[in-house]
């Protein structure tokens, strides 16, 4: 980086000012520093002596301040405080408040006096308004301009009246006040927020913007689509203003965390690669800088800067520096001298120059100049004697080539690359274990007053030592070039000295790579990852944009650093900030809301700023009130926390001294220190076992018994489990349940036996009370166990046949069980009908065995919504259904008409029901039949209804709430599953109805060869005829079997495999090509089901 240590400046430290804004008056005499507590006026001619302090009482700081730019009203200034503008006159060391201008509804972000109208000042605010005020009329603004978004900056054009610019996040608007509330131009300048804006003082079309996206961009507003030039500074830029001379721009960046780079940079507009000069000195963020108006005839300019380090610095920008910005001094004589020196001159010409003092008329003037400049601020203009010595020393000056040769003899210095055309040299310096690659650029005028620029390319030195090296170099070189002597040799001597010293600082450094590693780690830490901007407003391929630090951070919640989450069943996972850390903020302060608030915590000195940042409005204004934090700082939440031992890190100097102390320690120690620090930053994640306070227990889940056939034993064991868990309530509960499930209390199937137990006070109501209690404490384990114990299982009765059965477990449960009462609570009407129907048809068909070969059928079962089935009207209708509606039930549940047809044909003529069914392939017909038969038997209906009622009353659990109980059981099964108790989970699920949804499976029932009833087991339960005879051995098949789906023949799997390895046709000789028929492909392509 091009650097030059500028020794000619004056520093005034003003403690306790805590000013947030600074302004220099147009006469160049007074600087106003405005803070929350007071206004301080500093006489620039005697900055150390003359200060006037005016205290103010306000809870708000001052956002911005500006002096009137007209000499006639130079004593007048305006301050912006929160939403109000205040006008003051400053006379004879006292400030008089003139008036307040109030109209803004949110914080004012900038003010600017009109350069053309002495009475007009513009102000802008986050409330989206820009106002013009006439100071003679303080009641209301004279002009109002509104935009859709908040305004960050407002600046009058310096050349022409009737033009001003405002910034809105990343956009710039150019306005003509005469044209009212419509901007004359929009510029989408940056992808991120613009912090600074300035108009050129020469060209009315030119302006410069500085933005969070790390660039400074130059614009001609007549061409808003293209930015004329762009400087990428690598850090978010806070301000960029044109220099009053030449084509220069001064910028100040927002420094990255812990990097001491609070420098101002001077750029030449056409050289975007590197700054031409760096003003090094400030120890903290530079808040404001302004040019001081110069006295007549003085060529040097002065830059006034105010920084958070509470120092006011005055920098002299001499003509050589001005020249770097392309400013040609108009005075001929001087210009000639400069020009002539700029090229290597033959010695005789130089001598000629020396002999003719009249060619240097400027020096005489310069001689007078310091006297007129009473300030004495850096007024070390050359005098005659120095000038003469310069001339004489010039004779001894060497050319670059000679200097190179001279350097080559130095030990530890190696010339790596020399480009005399471009006047650049690259050296490698080696001292002890340290090395440093440097690149030097020699300006044309070197060594006349202009030192070479130094850039460190690569080194294993600490960044602090690097800084030291740069500083040493700048000092040494500037001393020498002032005398117009070559400086390289001296500089290198000094640098090598520094390197040697640093070597002793880091004594125990084992090898250089360690240091290198550390440096690369550091670099990485500071390296902010660049992401591509979504859209580049200037059409450049990729503009680096920081993912954070953007405006939107104010909407992103503050990161969680502490949390506890219940996981699985018994665990509470907890993470938090380690106990050794505490919040940077005071304990009384509540944690901020948004990520953007973090910015205020990353500046250790910004206590005053932080105090303002609690409200939403001021957290936004933070972006205006001071340089915002950089991406890195925002990203690291850890900056919100600090070690408990350190009270607070209010002073950067303190921090620095700490780090210096550390520097002295051994490297190993440092590593350890860092490691331990890292450990501290991240706490352990703790996993708690919360089972002692949980209401469910894995132990119980494992050991609870559930056997409905041995309820007494179940209750006994469960009470024991409860006593082991020390749950007294559960011991009592299980004892009670034992009594409630006593054999004597079993409901009698006989209606005449009186009310069942469930109907009595200690029946269902007691159970309900118990359930309610455990519902309240959300003890799902106990609830589920109760549900299971009192669950009325409708036991499947396997020996009841159904012509078409599904393999759904659901159905088997719901098949008719009881001779006296076919009615059960079922979840689906379809099932009920089906179940009932099959039993009645079985009864009907019993005496009529039909000669028919066993016909295996493959029937997909479709779950049917009750609404689509005609039999879903009422349950009481199923009596009638028994006689006439069989087919309908089948139609409803069995879409496979072919099967139905076969079934129907087999029974043709044997019963009226079948007769009907034969005719009833038409839907409507069968429905009519059904209705007619329903009306025939109202008495039966009544009886059935009563029975149904009775049956429901026998149940301990309210059938109305059935689905609710099912859910509890499922929830508990799920919990058991989470514990990994798979068997127990499945056991609980066995006690559920499987929900209302039917499972889609494929069943393969066989009809009895003898009596053509359906066989579910190995033999017909009626005629004991085997379900399947093996086609090979003619024995009945028990165990594994294989059946052809086309012809229905089959047998033992082993026999079938044996046969079909050689043959492809049916072993019975029926002519079926079984292998071919049964191939899956065949099935799919022909859609063969039967």
């Amino acid at each position: 980086m091009a650097g030059k240590y500028c020794t000619e400046f004056q520093t005034t430290e003003l403690k306790d000012v805590q000013a947030s804004a600074m302004a220099v008056d147009c006469l160049g005499q007074w600087t106003l520093l405005a803070g929350r507590k007071n206004l301080v006026f500093v006489d620039l001619n005697r900055p150390a002596l003359t200060t006037v302090k005016v205290t103010r009482q306000s809870k708000w700081g001052i956002n911005c301040v500006q002096w009137n730019g007209h000499a006639s009203h130079a004593y007048r200034f305006v301050t912006a405080c929160n939403q109000r503008l205040d006008l003051f006159d400053f006379h004879e060391a006292s400030a008089t408040h003139l008036c307040s201008l109030k109209a803004h509804s949110r914080t004012i972000s900038a003010v600017d006096w009109s350069p053309f109208d002495v009475n007009v000042v513009a102000s802008c605010s986050l409330d989206t308004y820009t106002y013009f005020w006439d100071v003679r009329d303080s009641k209301k603004p004279v002009k109002t301009f509104q935009a859709v978004s908040g305004v960050g900056q407002v600046k009058w054009n310096k050349v022409t009246n009737n033009l001003f610019a405002t910034t809105h996040d990343g956009d710039v608007r150019i306005w003509d006040p005469r044209k009212g509330n419509t901007p004359v131009q929009y510029i989408s300048a940056h992808p991120s927020k613009i912090h600074g804006l300035d108009w050129s003082s020469v060209d009315q079309h030119k302006l410069v913007t500085a933005s969070q996206d790390c660039t400074i961009r130059f614009w001609d507003y007549t061409n808003p689509r293209r930015c004329e030039a762009m400087i990428n500074s690598g850090n978010p830029v806070w301000r960029a203003t044109y220099t009053p001379f030449g084509e220069g721009v001064v910028s100040v960046v927002v420094p990255q965390l812990r990097r001491v780079e609070n420098n101002l940079y001077l750029w030449h507009i056409r050289n975007q690669q590197s700054p031409v000069h760096t003003f090094i000195g400030h120890k903290d963020v530079v808040l404001e800088f302004q040019w001081r108006r110069q006295q007549e005839g003085v060529k040097d300019h002065q830059l006034i800067t105010w920084s958070k380090d509470q120092t006011l610095r005055i920098w002299k920008v001499d003509t050589s520096m001005q020249k770097l910005c392309g400013y040609d001094i108009e005075d001929n004589g001087d210009a000639i001298v400069e020009q002539e020196f700029s090229t290597p001159l033959p010695q005789n010409l130089l001598f000629d120059l020396y002999k003719k003092p009249d060619t240097l008329p400027t020096d005489n003037r310069l001689l007078i100049a310091p006297k007129s400049d009473t300030s004495g601020v850096g007024a070390s203009a050359p005098n005659v004697s120095s000038h003469l010595s310069m001339m004489s020393s010039m004779l001894s000056a060497m050319t670059l080539e000679e200097e190179c040769a001279d350097i080559g003899q130095m030990s530890g210095v190696k010339l790596e690359l020399a480009d005399l055309e471009k006047r650049t040299l690259t050296f490698k310096l080696v001292k002890e274990q340290h090395f440093m690659d440097i690149h030097m650029l020699f300006p044309d005028t070197y060594p006349i007053r202009v030192p070479p620029h130094l850039t460190i390319l690569q080194t294993n030195l600490d960044s602090e030592i690097q800084q030291h090296v740069v500083k040493t170099f700048n000092e040494t070189s500037s001393v020498h070039v002032k005398k117009h002597t070559n400086c390289l040799k001296h500089c290198f001597k000094q640098i090598l000295n520094v390197m040697e010293k640093s070597g002793s600082l880091v004594v125990n450094q084992e090898n250089t790579t360690l240091g290198e590693e550390r440096k690369s780690v550091l670099d990485k830490k500071f390296l902010v990852e660049k992401v591509r901007a979504p859209t580049s407003p200037v059409g450049q391929s990729s503009v680096p944009m920081y993912p954070s630090g953007s405006f939107h951070d104010s909407c992103i919640p503050f990161p969680r650093t502490c949390g506890a989450t219940f996981c699985s069943n018994d665990y509470l996972v907890m993470f938090h900030v380690p106990a050794a850390l505490k919040k940077v903020s005071e304990d009384s302060e509540i944690t901020p809301r948004a990520l953007s608030d973090l910015a205020s915590y990353s500046h250790p000195q910004s206590q005053w700023m932080r105090n303002q940042s609690n409200s939403f409005v001021s957290s936004l204004s933070l972006f205006y009130g001071s340089p915002p934090a950089t991406a890195q700082e925002v990203l690291s939440v850890s900056s919100f926390y600090t070690e408990k031992t350190t009270k607070s890190r209010h002073h950067r100097s303190h921090q620095k001294s700490r780090s210096k102390d550390r520097e002295g320690r051994h490297e190993k120690e440092r590593e350890a220190d860092r490691a331990s620090k890292k450990m501290h930053k991240v706490g352990c994640v703790k996993i708690y076992d919360i089972s002692p306070i949980n209401n469910i227990s894995k132990y119980a889940g494992q050991h609870y018994k559930l056997d409905l056939d041995d309820l007494h034993g179940t209750c006994k064991q469960n009470a024991e489990v409860a006593s082991k868990m020390k749950r007294n309530d559960l011991i009592q509960l299980w004892q009670l349940v034992d009594h409630m499930t006593h054999e004597q209390l079993r409901p009698s199937p006989n209606l005449e036996d009186g009310a069942p137990w469930a109907f009595r006070p200690f029946g269902r109501p007691l159970l309900k009370k118990m359930m309610d209690h455990y519902t309240k404490s959300r003890d799902v384990q106990t609830l589920a166990m109760l549900c299971c114990v009192f669950w009325d299982r409708e036991k499947p009765k396997r020996d009841v046949l159904s012509l078409i059965t599904t393999s759904s477990r659901n159905d088997s449960h719901l098949s008719v069980t009881n001779a006296y009462n076919p009615y059960h609570t079922v979840s689906s009407m379809t099932n009920l009908i089906k179940g009932w129907t099959s039993s009645s048809t079985a009864a009907a068909l019993l005496p009529h065995p039909a000669p028919m070969s066993p016909s295996p059928v493959l029937s997909p079962v479709h779950p049917l919504p009750p609404s689509s089935s005609p039999s879903s009207t009422t349950s009481s209708s199923s009596v009638a259904l028994g006689k006439g509606g069989r087919t309908m039930a089948e139609v409803a549940s069995q879409p496979n008409l072919a099967v139905l047809f076969r079934a129907g044909r087999n029974k043709a003529g044997r019963s009226s029901a079948v007769m009907k069914s034969k005719r009833s392939f038409s839907w409507s017909e069968s429905y009519e039949d059904f209705k007619v038969s329903e009306e025939k038997e109202p008495k039966d209906k009544m009886v059935e209804r009563e029975r149904q009622h009775h049956h429901n009353n026998c149940k301990m659990l309210d059938p109305e709430q059935k689905s609710h109980y099912e859910e509890i059981k499922k929830a508990y099964a799920n919990i058991l599953f989470k514990w990994g108790l798979l068997t127990e989970s499945a056991h609980i699920l066995k006690h559920t109805d499987g929900g209302g949804v039917e499972h889609q499976t494929i069943g393969c029932p066989v009809s009895c060869f003898n009596c053509s009833t359906d066989i579910r087991e190995v033999q017909c339960h009626i005629c004991k005829y085997p379900a399947l005879r093996c086609a090979i051995c003619h024995m009945s098949v028990r165990g594994l079997s294989e059946v052809c789906l086309a012809c229905g023949h089959g047998g033992h799997t082993s026999h079938m495999i044996e046969w079909f390895t050689h043959q492809s046709f049916c072993p019975t000789g029926c002519g079926c090509m079984c292998l071919q028929e049964n191939s899956l492909h065949n099935f799919l392509s022909q859609g063969r089901i039967t």
Binding site: C555, P559, C684, V685, K970, G980
Partner: protein
Amino acid sequence: MASVINSVDTAHEDMIHDAQLDYYGTKLATCSSDRSIRIFDVTNGQQTLITQLRGHEGPVWQLSWAHPMFGNMLASCGYDRKVIIWKETNGVWGKLYEYTQHDSSVNSVSFAPHEYGLMLACGSSDGSISVITNAGDGSWDSKKINNAHTIGCNAVSWAPATAPNSLFDSQSVQQGLVKRFVSGGCDFLVKIWVEDNGQWIEEQKLEGHSDWVRDVAWAQSIGLPKSIIASCSQDCRVIIWTNDGVSNSWTSKILHKFDDVVWHVSWSTTGNILAVSGGDNKVTLWKENLESQWVCISDIHKGHGTIGERPSSG
């Protein structure tokens, strides 16, 4: 009473923002400002680092495990506007899918109950909520609720698959489960969203907080008709919202006003204990007694070993 059974040193380089155990409680996933996610095997008290997942370009805010029926799958969201779904295949963790349709930081991610299939919701600071579904054939589909919360959405939480309202309504049982989730945002609101014909519509708007809502949690169903939601906010309050499962109205009850902002609420499996954590680095556990009063049963202070039971008033 409750004791630490495992203390995992994550070795993250920066603050941890979320830690989650998987379904069985055997794997621990943590995410941090250092842009990485770490997965540990914590079976039987061990703490073996299984893998470190890198892919986010900013701090990672939240994690969510999928149901084990989908394999070992983890979703993460972060400051870099990304939602990444990670999956273990043959013992190797890798990126399965990356969702990048949000315009700002994604603050919350949550897998839906497994009954809905592979589905997750994420809330972002751009104000929108995305519901991402896997069609089953490997392709991913997303539905975005734009402007769900003005300024930004901070949290999402799914309702249990057995939404109580459907229990008594056999129609809805037949038609399938009603999908619902709750979200909280910078507009101080808690909103309940329901899927209707493939579209997400706002069913309820719960007003009660006076600052940003930081987290919401829908309690697991234990087969009861009652729905319970807990929400916490920057206004230092935790509110318990209940619905009786019959009507459409929600009643609110302030659990407690804390000293500092509340960041996170979490329900235990059976919904009887609520864990509350916030900016003051403390965790408190709350339980509802039989008189329907919420009482604090314990404090966990800055990582002391045990959760001591506090004598409860009920």
